[in-house]
Point group: C2
Chain length 207, copies 2
DNA sequence: ATATTATATAACTAACCAGTTACTTATATG
DNA sequence: CATATAAGTAACTGGTTAGTTATATAATAT
């Protein structure tokens, strides 16, 4: 027997959003059942439609939620002091760890890619992410000017590579773990991967 | 009005599999409708159950199909002659182009990762992929011995990186195209990416 | 205290969907 | 030619699901 809820629209909204994040990141827009979200949030299904209007809108709300969470951390870490080399080292580590600790972010990005980034574009998520890319670009350009980095490297390619390397370690961990016969989410493996990736980038970029 | 089929079990089976590949790679196991596959294959739904038993089994058949297709190309390309450096250069290009030309492969891998590689492991797909990884490992080890590559690089990390770089360019192309404000499936961008990736790896690996 | 309204619930509906049944038709072989 | 059987079809079933309706109750303002 489910206990009755005390009336608290803010908490209800949060409960729904949290349950929806778990379900959508796990099963996607199609695979998720609205009834299941209601059950998990311990709330009547009707309330989901009260607060979010439709299953699709709820999905979009989850997408915005997970992306905002990343953006905050990114901006935080990019403000750190130190040499350009140190900043690159730092951002790779911060990314890796954020992604390790936020599997629902990874999954939502995968769902979006399978969906041809439909909601991603509808919501203009790139606006949320833009400050990070701009900052990364600035660090690399600064490194080129002060002689830390080679001037002939392609800034965009490097940014793209950093994002790819960190994200994909997790996004493909299930098939890759099987192929490489290694548990990729093992902490020891993560740490050595971070070291290797950082090393490779800096060797490539440095003068 | 749909035209009647001539009796031809082999063709029917192929029609079903081809339609299923399109649907499953696009919409996943849950999102795909068996009726839709039947319609696309221009065949009665009953026949899908005749030949494949269940929706799930049909999905598995598609997974085996797309992986076998890659394996053939991989093994072919790895047999090529040339220096170790040339072989690495060659495999990166072959991978990139296979993946560009086989979007359903990319999608099936994404679906599997979202599904925690469930069918991938059930079917023991790693057995299909193993020869490739073994061959790649052999090339890198050979390069270390004959003095082309540094002996202190980690072979597994390099293999992992090569697979990641090629695959992820496509798997994340929709969100990344938005973020980088660039059409990643544009041929010019693909070509310059291949050049950059190859360059970076070889610079890192070479003595 | 009472009226108002935001928040909550149970039960319903119309559409959908995987898998099945009961049946028909085309083709190959003796 | 006859007939066995492989290949095909239409229509159904039982269960599920997104979204709705009608109604109840707790909090708040007056």
């Amino acid at each position: 027997m489910r206990k009755k809820r005390i009336k608290d629209s803010k908490k209800s909204r949060e409960d729904i959003l949290r349950a929806a994040e778990e379900e959508f990141s796990d099963k996607g827009l199609y695979g998720t059942r609205v009834d299941e979200i209601a059950k998990k949030a311990n709330i009547n299904k009707r309330m989901i439609y009260e607060y979010f209007g439709s299953k699709e809108n709820l999905y979009k709300a989850v997408l915005v939620e997970v992306y905002s969470r990343l953006s905050q951390i990114e901006i935080e870490s990019l403000k750190n002091e130190g040499s350009c080399t140190q900043k690159i080292r730092n951002i790779i580590e911060v990314y890796f760890k954020f992604i390790r600790d936020n599997p629902s972010f990874v999954n939502m990005v995968l769902w979006e890619n399978l969906n041809k980034a439909r909601y991603f574009n509808e919501l203009d998520i790139k606006a949320i992410k833009d400050p990070t890319i701009t900052l990364l670009r600035r660090i690399i350009e600064e490194g080129k000017q002060n002689g830390s980095f080679r001037v002939d490297i392609d800034t965009d390619q490097i940014i793209f590579s950093i994002l790819t390397f960190t994200f994909s370690y997790y996004s493909n961990r299930y098939t890759m773990s099987a192929l490489m016969r290694k548990k990729l989410d093992d902490d020891k493996n993560i740490q050595s991967r971070i070291g290797y990736v950082t090393d490779m980038f800096l060797k490539y970029m440095s003068v």
